[in-house]
């Protein structure tokens, strides 16, 4: 397809940021048609600037294009102005590299990072001219593969996919492509049953779900559990030596360098902490080697050392010092996106040559020590004050603090304690500022809080009202913003939803729902109507405490962490008891992963 012949200059100028749709970025892979046996489109159900910031996409793109005979190209969800134009002009969703319509690929891999992208999955398929449901797709259509954190409870979107991959894709994607290659031209159903044999691959069509009259799940059959894939040794795992450099300013416009995967802290609200277990590190030597290669191949001005908690990396001081020194001459900065809340982390941040003295960000998550014990965030008030004091005395002008409200077992005094913390912090840093990011807690699958009920909007609003009354009088040194509770409500229903919700998602999409994670496009009304029309109750999925025995929609999908371990953690949370960080061989709680 020739984009320039299809859309005129005037038409391209009439849409926002036409650069999203032109491709031609640095380091893209352009394989010749005659060299290609299997082609995979990597489609991201969100805007270019978001999808291009995602590390998993870069890793898979690199691995697939390194395989001889395999072509991987990218596609993103167009902003609604472009989506509309594409529909009007009959332009099918195409890949950015060779401008090939998505339906001409052998497979389309869709990354599921966020539940609010679910309508965008349908948007991508629809724009591509691919039937939405697996059972409606004939032999001529590509296989639709899903992955990412939402694949651990993909049930609400399961009818739209042919296969999900649970966990880390580095090894499995090669096995999947091999089967596609060997079985090219064979019947779709045969390919699917072959793919289902790969460890970590879940083919939803092969499972059926029955329900009790009260709506709870009666049975999922067969009982075979699909277990996630994970890479044992990060140093041995493939990592891109070059990544695509976009022209637009994307959300994370820098080199992402993953130094560790998984987290040992075991915060009870955190799905990432559970599904990415165990904790593994890439060696400093390997990180440094990759950083130097990536700087050379991209010309980026910043390297960001990624992990769920960067300062938990065992050699972080050495790594930061050595890397900053090596990159200094080429004027490349090193940054750490996720700091643990302690003085050590502030010291490490201080040693970065890139010293944006505006602010440092931490996540205490709850206002009181008691509630932090409930969620297993073992920070004392004193830890918080010391970290903040150190931040201010090191020259930063502001701390940004993340809190959640609506946590299980939360009382009014815990809310007041958020404001008390802020007051105390203002007292300890004259002329310094505090920026609060407040979000509503959403219980997620595969966490100790998967049994708990999500808080109603009304009560969240009451809590926010208390916070307003306490924070506003503190004046201009305190800035704060909070999440959209209506969006959080839908996110909650989708994240613990079952297969029946797929029809709701389809209805919402048909009513015009796309880009639901963008406030200007989200509409609670549309979702409520969708639930009503399907005869389903949104509250059933959100505002309901489950009992120990309930069969979850994700019962047959496992990140390795056992249900017993999660239940025990849930009980401990109610006893307000802490579980310290785990360590293989030394301090193991037998969660089931290692």
């Amino acid at each position: 397809m020739d984009l320039e012949k299809t859309l005129s200059r005037q038409e391209m100028l009439s849409i926002s940021k036409p650069a999203r749709y032109i491709g031609r970025e640095w380091n893209i892979s352009l394989k010749k048609k005659e060299d290609v046996e299997i082609s995979v489109a990597l489609a991201f159900p969100d805007l270019y600037e978001i999808g291009m910031s995602h590390l998993g996409l870069k890793i898979l793109y690199y691995i697939l294009n390194s395989l001889p005979g395999v072509r991987a190209e990218r596609a993103f969800a167009p902003w609604p102005d472009m989506g509309k134009m594409m529909k009007e002009k009959n332009i099918p969703l195409y890949s950015l590299e060779n401008k090939i319509p998505l339906r001409n690929f052998d497979a389309v891999g869709i990354s599921l990072q966020h539940e609010l992208n679910y309508t965008n999955v349908l948007y991508l398929l629809d724009l591509a001219g691919i039937p939405l449901r697996s059972e409606e797709r004939g032999e001529e259509f590509p296989l639709i593969l899903g992955g990412g954190p939402c694949a651990f409870n993909p049930e609400p979107v399961s009818p739209f996919f042919d296969v999900f991959l649970l966990g880390e894709g580095e090894e499995a994607i090669v096995e999947i492509v091999e089967i596609l290659r060997v079985m090219k031209g064979e019947k779709r159903s045969d390919v699917l049953s072959e793919l289902a044999k790969i460890e970590g691959c879940y083919v939803p069509l092969l499972y059926s779900v029955s329900y009790h009259p009260d709506g709870k799940i009666k049975n999922i059959s067969p009982s075979r559990v699909v277990r996630k894939r994970w890479v044992k040794n990060l140093d041995g795992a493939p990592y891109p030596q070059k990544i695509i450099v976009p022209y637009l300013n994307i959300v994370h416009d820098r080199i992402p360098l993953e130094i560790a995967r998984g987290c040992t802290r075991g915060c009870r609200f955190c799905q990432a902490g559970m599904i990415y277990r165990p904790h593994r590190e890439r060696s400093p030597e390997k990180v440094i080697e990759l950083a130097e290669k990536l700087v050379k191949s991209t010309g980026y001005e910043e390297v960001s050392l990624l992990s769920l908690s960067s300062t938990d990396y065992s050699a972080i001081e050495y790594l930061v010092r050595d890397l900053s020194f090596r990159l200094k001459e080429s004027k490349v900065n090193v940054s750490l996106p996720s700091l643990r809340m302690d003085a050590f982390s502030v010291e490490v941040a201080q040693s970065l040559q890139e010293v944006r003295r505006s602010g440092l960000t931490f996540a205490p998550e709850a206002g009181s020590e008691r509630l932090r014990r409930v969620i297993n965030k073992g920070l004392t008030d004193e830890d918080i004050f010391q970290t903040v004091e150190k931040t201010f005395s090191s020259g930063w002008r502001e701390v940004k603090l993340y809190f959640m409200i609506g946590l299980p077992g939360e009382r009014e005094e815990d809310i007041r304690d958020i404001a008390n913390l802020v007051k105390e912090i203002l007292g300890r840093g004259k002329k310094k500022g505090v920026h609060l990011g407040i979000s509503a807690f959403i219980p997620k699958s595969h966490t100790p809080f998967q049994w708990t009920k999500q808080e109603e909007i009304k009560s969240l609003e009451e809590k926010m009202a208390i916070l307003h009354s306490l924070l506003r009088p503190l004046g201009r040194r305190v800035r704060y913003n909070w999440s959209d509770f209506e969006v959080n409500l839908v996110e909650g229903a989708l994240s613990r939803g079952d297969r029946r919700i797929s029809s709701v998602i389809e209805r919402v999409y048909r009513k015009g729902g796309v880009m639901d994670n963008w406030r200007e496009f989200f509409s609670l009304r549309r979702w409520q109507e969708g639930f009503e029309e399907e005869g389903l109750d949104l509250n059933f999925y959100t505002h309901r405490e489950r009992d120990r025995e309930e069969i979850f929609p994700w019962e047959h999908l496992s990140p390795g962490v056992s249900k017993d371990f999660l239940w025990k953690e849930y009980q401990l949370s109610q006893e307000e008891k802490i579980t310290p960080p785990c360590q293989e061989g030394k301090n193991c709680y037998n969660c089931g992963v290692c």
Binding site: R9, T298, E301, K331, R356
Partner: protein
């Protein structure tokens, strides 16, 4: 350290006419780093290459004559610079010419004496197109190239910085059609 000032001329051909001036400056900064060019940087926490552009090209306008000035810490021949740069950018952005300039030489905008733009229309407007509006922009040539009707304009003196996109708007009102392509052909010094 001694500094050397270079003025480089490059193309910005479709689809790169859809990337903005800001994107373009980031793109060249990254190309310099990949190339390992000894570029002089600004001071401060976020050092940027000392790179200065002429007047920004509006989105949707192509160019065969974009320019920027850069300071290097090493004297390189123009051929070397072009070779190094062209390894680091796609052909639509090809660097065509490099000249070494005295450090105190006037900026790009101040050195410009005129700019030539081609406006490509569909052939059907050839008959309809009357005289171009009298606004101090000189029409130099009309011709039919393939299936297109091309009009060459010279923007000079106080019109040097006039937006070629605004001019397209004015022509559209007069002739009833938007150009399918606008190309900045040449800068007169």
């Amino acid at each position: 350290m001694d500094k050397f000032r270079y003025r480089v001329k490059h193309q910005k051909i479709a689809p790169f006419h859809f990337i903005s001036q800001l994107d373009l400056s980031r793109l060249w900064s990254r190309a310099f780093r990949r190339a390992g060019l000894p570029v002089a940087y600004s001071q401060g926490f976020n050092p940027r290459p000392l790179l200065s552009f002429g007047p920004a090209l509006p989105l949707g306008v192509e160019s065969r004559a974009e320019y920027w000035d850069v300071f290097l810490y090493q004297e390189l021949s123009p051929e070397e610079i072009l070779m190094i740069l062209n390894r680091e950018v796609l052909s639509e952005l090809k660097a065509e010419e490099a000249n070494i300039l005295p450090l105190s030489f006037p900026s790009i905008s101040r050195s410009m004496k005129g700019v030539r733009y081609s406006y490509y229309f569909s052939q059907s407007i050839e008959e309809k197109a009357g005289l171009s509006p009298d606004m101090g922009i000189e029409e130099e040539k009309r011709e039919v190239v393939g299936e297109l009707f091309v009009v060459l304009f010279l923007f000079k003196e106080e019109k040097i910085l006039y937006s070629p996109a605004k001019w397209a708007e004015i022509l559209r009102k007069e002739w009833g059609e938007s150009p399918v392509r606008i190309v900045k052909e040449e800068v007169l010094w």
